[in-house]
Amino acid sequence: MTAAVFFGCTFIAFGPAISLFLFTIAREPLRVIFLIAGAFFWLVSLLLSSLVWFISVQISNKESAAQQKGLLIFGVVLSVLLQETFRFGYYKLLKKANEGLLTLSQEETMPISIRQLAYVSGLGFGFMSGAFSVVNILADSAGPGTIGIHGDSQHYFLSSAFMTMAIILLHMFWGVVFFDACEKRCWWAVGLVVIVHLLVSCLTFQNPDYTATLVPAYVILFGMGVWAFYTAGGSLRNLKLCLTCKDKDFLLSNHRPR
C-alpha cells in the first residue's frame, strides 16, 4: 500500500468536511467550540453503546460466530439510536445555554443562531464519526501489506473512504434537519431522520457488496442534502442568485462589489 492510497483515501474521506470547516467554521471561535462539543457528545454516545455491547459480549457465548455477529448488529442499532438521542440531548443543552445567554446579556440577538448551531453540531458529529471509522484504516494503509490477499475485496480502502465521506456529510444534513424539526416540533421529521440513519447503517451490513451499499448511501445522501437545503432556507431562486454572483445579501455581508 502506497502513499498514494493513503493520501487519496484521506482526502476523499475528509476533503469536503475539512473544506467546510476551513471556509465556514475556522474563523469563528464560538462555532469551533460548539463543533468540538458536538464531537464530544458523539464520543460519549459511542462510549455508552460500546459499554453495552461489551457487557453483552462478555455474558454471551464467545465461540458462536453467528451470535457474535448478531450482537454486533445489535450494537450498531443501539449505537445509532444512542447517537440520535445524544443529538437531541445536545439540542436541549444548546437551547438552554442560548436562553441563559440571552437573559444574561439582555441583548436582542443571540451571538450564534440555532441554525448555525445545527450545522456546526452536525458537522462535529460527522467529524468524530468519520474519524473513528476510518483513521485506523488510513494508518494501516500507509504501512506495508497487500490488500485482499486472502480473497477479500481489493477495494477495501477506497470504499471505506467513500463511505466515510458520505457519513460525515450525512451527519451534517441530519443535524440541520433534526434541529429544525425540533424547533418546529414536527416529530415525524425527527423520526424520519432516525430511520434514515438506521437505514444507512443497516445498508452497510451488506458490505463487501459495495454496489448495494455505496450507491443507495449516496442516493440517500443526495436526498438528505436537498431536504437540508430546503430546511435551511434555500430555494432554487437563492441557488441561482448565488451561482451567478447576484445575491445582494450575500455580497453585502461579505463586503464585495457585485
Binding site: 467550540i33 462539543a37 453503546s49 460500546s50 455491547w53 450498531v76 463511505m163 458490505n207
Partner: protein
C-alpha cells in the same frame, strides 16, 4: 484560577483601576456589557488556548509515532521513581507504582512549599538564576537528544560540526526569546517545543502505571492546593496580591506581547529557576548511580518543577482573564500598555506538559481512536474550566477537569470502544 477582587476582601465588582467604592452608579451597566463581552472574548480566548495546546499535542504524537526512542523502555528510570515495574506479580507492581507516585508527589509538595517560602522571603535572584539554568539545560541538552534520535530514525548522516551549529543557534535564540525579547510567534513556538520535549521525557522515563497514577494524583493535588484555605498555591496568590506583584509570569505561554511580561515581573520567573538549579546541581555530583536507578537520565528536571508551573499557571490563566475583563470595562484611566498584554491569554507550561503527556501515552499504546478521544476530552475539559472560571470568578485549578476527562476517556476507549470499532471495521459496518 483566581479572582483578585475576592482576595482583596470583597467589595464591589471588579473595577478598572479604581477602588470599588467610588463607582457604584455604572456598576450594573458594566456588568451587562461585561457579560456580553465576556462571551465574545471568552470564546476567542478559548480558541487562543486550543491552538497551542493542539500544536503541542500534535508534536508529541508525531514524535511518538515516528521516533521509536521515546516509547522504548531502556530500563532507566528517574531517581524520583526508584521502584521498578517489571515485577513478578500484579500486586507487587501496583505497590511499586503507588510508592513511586507517592515519592513523586511528596517531592512536588516539598518543592512547592520551598517555592512559597522563597517567594515570601524575596529570594528573587536565586529563582532567576535557577530558571535560567534550567531552561538552558532543556534547550540545549534535551533538544540535542531529540535531534539525535530523529536523525537515527530517518537514517540521516550528520557531522558534529553542523550539529553543534544547529543546536547552538537553536538554544541561544530560544534563551533570548524566552527570557528576554523576541518575536511573539517565535517565543510561542519555543514554549510549545520545550513543553513537548518535557512531555516526551516523562513519557519515556515514567513507568506505565506510575505515569497514570501521577497524572491522577497531580490533578487531585492541584485541586486541593488551590481550593483549600491553607493550600500553598493559595498562600502564594495571596502574598502576591498583598505585594501587588504579578505572580510568576515565568514559563507561561502568552498569546500577546510578552516583553511586557519581563517588564512587569519583578520576581516571578526567577522563583521557579531557584528550584530547578538546585535540583539540577544535586544529581550532578552524585553521579555514581545507586544500583536500582540511574540518575544520568534525569536532567534535574523534576516533574515537580513543571507541576509548580501548572499550579501557578492554572491561576495565572484566570488571573489574566479577570484582569482582561477589568481592562475591558470603561474607565477614566487611559489604557496602559499592559492592555495589549492583558487582552491575550496565558496558560501554564505545566498544563501543556501534562495534557501532551496524556495524549502522548494514548498514542504510544498504538490506537488512533484512543488518541483522538483523549484529545477531544482534554479540549472539552479546558473549555469547561474556562466556563467555570467565567461563572464563578473564583480561584479554580486548571488541570483536574481535563485530566479527569482524559483519563476516563483513555481507559474507556482503550478497553470498550477499541474492540467494538475493530470488529466494526473488520466487517465494514458503519454506525
Amino acid at each position: 484560577i483566581w479572582d483578585k477582587n475576592e482576595l482583596r476582601g470583597g467589595g464591589g465588582p471588579e473595577q478598572n483601576g479604581h477602588p470599588p467604592a467610588t463607582r457604584p452608579a455604572v456598576q450594573e451597566v458594566e456588568e451587562d456589557e461585561d457579560e456580553e463581552m465576556t462571551l465574545k472574548y471568552g470564546a476567542k480566548h478559548v480558541i487562543m488556548l486550543f491552538v497551542p495546546v493542539t500544536l503541542c499535542m500534535a508534536v508529541v504524537v508525531a514524535t511518538i509515532k515516528s521516533v521509536g526512542f521515546y516509547t522504548r523502555k531502556d530500563g532507566q528510570r528517574l531517581i524520583y521513581t526508584p521502584f521498578p515495574e517489571d515485577t513478578d506479580t500484579v500486586g507487587q507492581r501496583a505497590v511499586n507504582s503507588i510508592l513511586n507516585a507517592t515519592i513523586m508527589i511528596t517531592v512536588i509538595i516539598v518543592m512547592t512549599l520551598v517555592l512559597v517560602l522563597l517567594y515570601k522571603y524575596r529570594c528573587y535572584k536565586v529563582i532567576h538564576g535557577w530558571l535560567f539554568l534550567s531552561s538552558l539545560f532543556l534547550l540545549f541538552f534535551f533538544s540535542y537528544i531529540y535531534l539525535q534520535e530523529v536523525f537515527k530514525t530517518y537514517n540521516v548522516a550528520m557531522d558534529y560540526f553542523t550539529l553543534v551549529i544547529i543546536i547552538w543557534n537553536f538554544g541561544v535564540v530560544g534563551m533570548m526569546c524566552i527570557h528576554w525579547k523576541g518575536p511573539l510567534r517565535l517565543q510561542q513556538a519555543y514554549l510549545i517545543m520545550i513543553s513537548a520535549l518535557m512531555a516526551l521525557v516523562f513519557i519515556k522515563y515514567l513507568p506505565e502505571w506510575t505515569a497514570w497514577l501521577i497524572l491522577a494524583v497531580i490533578s487531585v493535588y492541584d485541586l486541593l492546593a488551590v481550593l483549600c484555605p491553607k493550600g500553598p498555591l493559595r498562600i502564594l496568590v495571596e502574598t502576591a496580591q498583598e505585594r501587588n506583584e504579578p505572580i510568576f509570569p515565568a514559563l507561561i505561554y502568552s498569546s500577546t506581547m510578552v516583553w511586557l511580561v519581563n517588564m512587569a515581573d519583578t520576581g516571578g520567573p526567577r522563583r521557579e529557576s531557584a528550584e530547578e538549579t538546585q535540583e539540577a546541581a544535586a544529581p550532578e555530583p552524585a553521579e555514581s548511580p545507586p544500583p536500582l536507578s540511574s540518575p544520568q537520565d534525569d536532567g534535574g528536571f523534576t516533574p515537580s518543577w513543571v507541576s509548580q508551573q501548572e499550579h501557578q499557571l492554572g491561576q495565572l490563566q484566570s488571573t489574566e482573564e479577570t484582569r482582561r475583563q477589568i481592562q475591558q470595562m470603561p474607565s477614566a484611566r487611559p489604557p496602559a500598555e499592559e492592555d495589549e498584554e492583558e487582552r491575550g491569554v496565558k496558560l501554564g507550561l505545566g498544563d501543556f506538559i501534562f495534557y501532551s503527556m496524556l495524549v502522548g501515552k494514548a498514542a504510544a499504546s498504538g490506537d488512533w481512536n484512543t488518541t483522538l478521544a483523549c484529545f477531544v476530552a482534554i479540549l472539552i475539559g479546558l473549555c469547561l474550566t474556562l466556563l467555570l472560571l467565567a461563572i464563578f470568578k473564583k480561584a479554580l485549578p486548571a488541570l483536574p477537569i481535563s485530566i479527569f476527562f482524559g483519563l476516563v476517556f483513555y481507559f474507556a476507549t482503550d478497553n470498550l470502544v477499541k474492540p467494538f470499532m475493530d470488529k466494526l471495521a473488520l466487517h465494514q459496518f458503519y454506525i
